[in-house]
């Protein structure tokens, strides 16, 4: 009887863990102690309380496992999200993708291939030295240049939206090359499919 109850609990735990792996991590629900009501033997008070304690221990273990899995999934998603968000930088008045930017973008390609529901908004930014209006146009070219590169690596063009902020949203303040180089950038924002991000193995 114990064995059968244990195995039921073990199966329930297995199902739960498997489910947790597939589903979006959620606060672990209490495992269903289904067999209790169906127990065919005469009630034995002491034994029941021991069973209850075992069930509670099993549930806690399941919860802990689920929490650990949720943490692992969340960490993986955060890591994916941060790789997707990694900025790329441009030379003055240029929209060409630099070599350092290619490495940053290549890291996104695998992620986008694996997480097919993800859509990205690419925002082009400029430093504050050029014309306000021309910079809006330059930022748009930078965003489009980034998209072209990702499309050339096999990602569908429809998964991107390109916008420009010109010099309107500086990342760094200051009238020096340090600030300017930080501001000539492409930024990435997930606008769809960002719920179950997985890291390519």
């Amino acid at each position: 009887m114990f064995a059968s109850r244990r195995s039921v609990a073990a199966i329930a735990l297995t199902i739960f863990v498997v489910t947790a792996c597939k589903k979006k991590p959620e606060p672990a629900p209490a495992p269903t102690p289904a067999p209790v009501a169906a127990a065919p033997v005469a009630p034995r008070v002491n034994q029941d309380s021991i069973d209850a304690a075992r069930r509670a221990a099993d549930a806690a273990a399941a919860r802990a496992a689920a929490d650990a899995e949720a943490r692992r999934a969340a960490a993986e998603a955060a890591s994916v999200r941060s790789m997707l968000a990694a900025k790329v930088y441009f030379d003055l008045d240029k929209d060409e993708i630099r070599d350092d930017a290619k490495a940053t973008l290549d890291a996104k390609v695998g992620i986008l291939n694996l997480n097919t529901a993800v859509r990205i908004r690419i925002a082009g930014h400029t430093d504050d030295r050029g014309s306000d209006e021309y910079n809006l146009a330059l930022g748009q070219r930078r965003a489009a240049s980034v998209q072209r590169y990702l499309v050339s690596r096999g990602i569908a063009a429809s998964r991107f939206e390109m916008v420009s902020f010109g010099k309107e949203r500086p990342a760094a303040q200051g009238e020096n090359e340090g600030a300017w180089s930080q501001n000539r950038r492409g930024e990435f924002e997930i606008i769809a499919g960002g719920d179950m991000l997985r890291m390519p193995k």
Binding site: R121, G130, E133, Y134, A137, R141, A144, M162, S164
Partner: protein, 430 residues
């Protein structure tokens, strides 16, 4: 300009300027045409004003005429408004060619008498209704119209005091009177960039930058606040500008390179493309010529930003700013002078933008600024003054430049002002 004035102007031009500027008797009895010779601004004495809010009226008139840069204002000390016949020889001895005698009537009109000192006679009388409340925005605009009328009577050229400027400040559009008064945000214009006046002075077009980065062209009725947004298939829509007859709105649109499009500003038609690439080229900042037949714009089609001119249908693009001046390959933000003769723009000099203008007849270039970073020129309706953004005071502010005398004045006092757009003359009843 009258035939007589033209005749006089020709005569003045033939005189050696040294003789003319020293021999003031040459100007006696003549009231038009003086202002085009530098250094010969006619003296205008403004007498103390009588009636309600007299001090404010006097202050506004004096400041407007001063800011107009076409007359030399002779300060009126505080005192009583003159009555009876003016003692013209006294005013002549003060260097006044004209005397402005203003009063606010009990009925609430601004009554302005302009006297010709040399001729010892009244040149002009005007009555301008002053709207309530006194000292309010419309009241001030009416007084400015009085100043503009005085300037027209004395110099032959209507002033530009009854104008306003739109600009960008703290993430929305602002508006300010020509004398720097009444600066305030235009409500409902959050995210607004690149304001452009409709020629009727009642509507503005601008680029609305959303937090997503999407940019939409908006046409807004300034008084009522009604708006019309133009849908396009692109995320970037910017740099709107109206044709001089108000029938066409041109703007910039694209997802990669950008082109210039045109659309009826109050209709439902789809925008039509004017400029065509080439390739992923940025075409930006369009502005019509005063005859509406051509468009000046910024383009990087040669690999860096320069100013081009094309026909209004997008054909015959031609490089305007050759690389013969400035040390950096960057010129942008053109604005066509209302007389059609000049295109002002910003050009990098030692890596910093300065305001310049190119004469369309001989392609001669004038450079107007050197202190700080100076950008985004916008012509006043007189084709003589320029509004621009400058960092010369330490923060980004709007300044006004008289392109004839080189005199500048600071228009805004709120740090971060930029993208100024000078209105047309704001006529009464509009």
């Amino acid at each position: 300009m009258t035939k007589r004035a033209l005749l006089f102007f020709s005569v003045v031009c033939l005189l050696p300027s040294a003789v003319f500027s020293q021999d003031t008797s040459a100007a006696r009895g003549v009231r038009i045409g003086l202002t085009y010779a530098p250094g010969t601004r006619p003296g205008v004495f403004i007498t103390p004003v009588s009636g309600a809010n007299a001090d404010s009226v006097l202050k506004i008139l004096s400041r407007d005429l001063d800011f107009g840069d076409r007359v030399a204002v002779i300060a009126a000390d505080s005192g009583d408004a003159p009555t009876g016949t003016l003692n013209y020889p006294v005013y002549a001895s003060l260097g006044a060619a004209a005397v402005v005698q203003a009063s606010v009537t009990p009925a609430g009109s601004l009554h302005i008498v302009v006297h010709d000192v040399a001729g010892a006679r009244v040149m002009n009388v005007s009555d301008i209704p002053l709207p309530s409340p006194a000292l309010g925005g419309e009241w001030r605009l009416a007084v400015h119209r009085g100043s503009d009328e005085v300037e027209r009577v004395v110099t032959g050229v209507k002033g530009i005091a009854a104008t306003r400027s739109l600009f960008v400040h703290e993430g929305s559009l602002w508006i300010v009177d020509s004398d720097g008064a009444q600066a305030h945000a235009v409500s409902g214009t959050e995210g607004g960039l690149s304001p452009a006046w409709h020629p009727n002075g009642r509507a503005v077009a601008y680029d609305e930058l959303a937090n997503t980065g999407h940019q939409t062209i908006v046409v807004r009725d300034l008084a009522g606040g009604n708006t019309h947004r133009f849908a396009t298939r692109h995320t970037l829509n910017m740099s709107p500008t109206f044709s001089p007859d108000g029938s066409t709105l041109a703007f910039v649109s694209g997802d990669d390179g950008t082109d210039i499009y045109a659309v009826a500003p109050f209709g439902a038609d789809s925008p039509r493309r004017l400029s065509v690439g080439p390739g992923a080229t940025s075409n930006a900042s369009p502005v019509f010529s005063p005859d509406g037949k051509r468009i000046a714009f910024t383009s990087n089609r040669l690999g860096h930003a320069e100013v081009y001119i094309m026909d209004a249908d997008g054909t015959n693009p031609d490089l305007l700013t050759t690389t013969l001046f400035g040390d950096q390959p960057y010129r942008s933000d053109p604005d066509w002078s209302p007389d059609g003769r000049r295109v002002a723009f910003q050009s990098q000099v030692s890596g910093v933008f300065q305001i310049m203008a190119i004469n369309l007849q001989d392609r001669g270039v004038q450079s107007f600024t050197s202190e700080g970073r100076n950008t985004e020129p916008s012509w006043a309706p007189d084709g003589r003054h320029l509004l621009f953004t400058s960092t010369r005071s330490g923060t980004s502010q709007l300044w006004v430049l008289d392109t004839e005398s080189g005199r500048t004045r600071q228009l805004t006092r709120t740090g971060g002002a930029r993208m100024g757009a000078w209105s047309p003359r704001l006529e009464a009843g509009k």
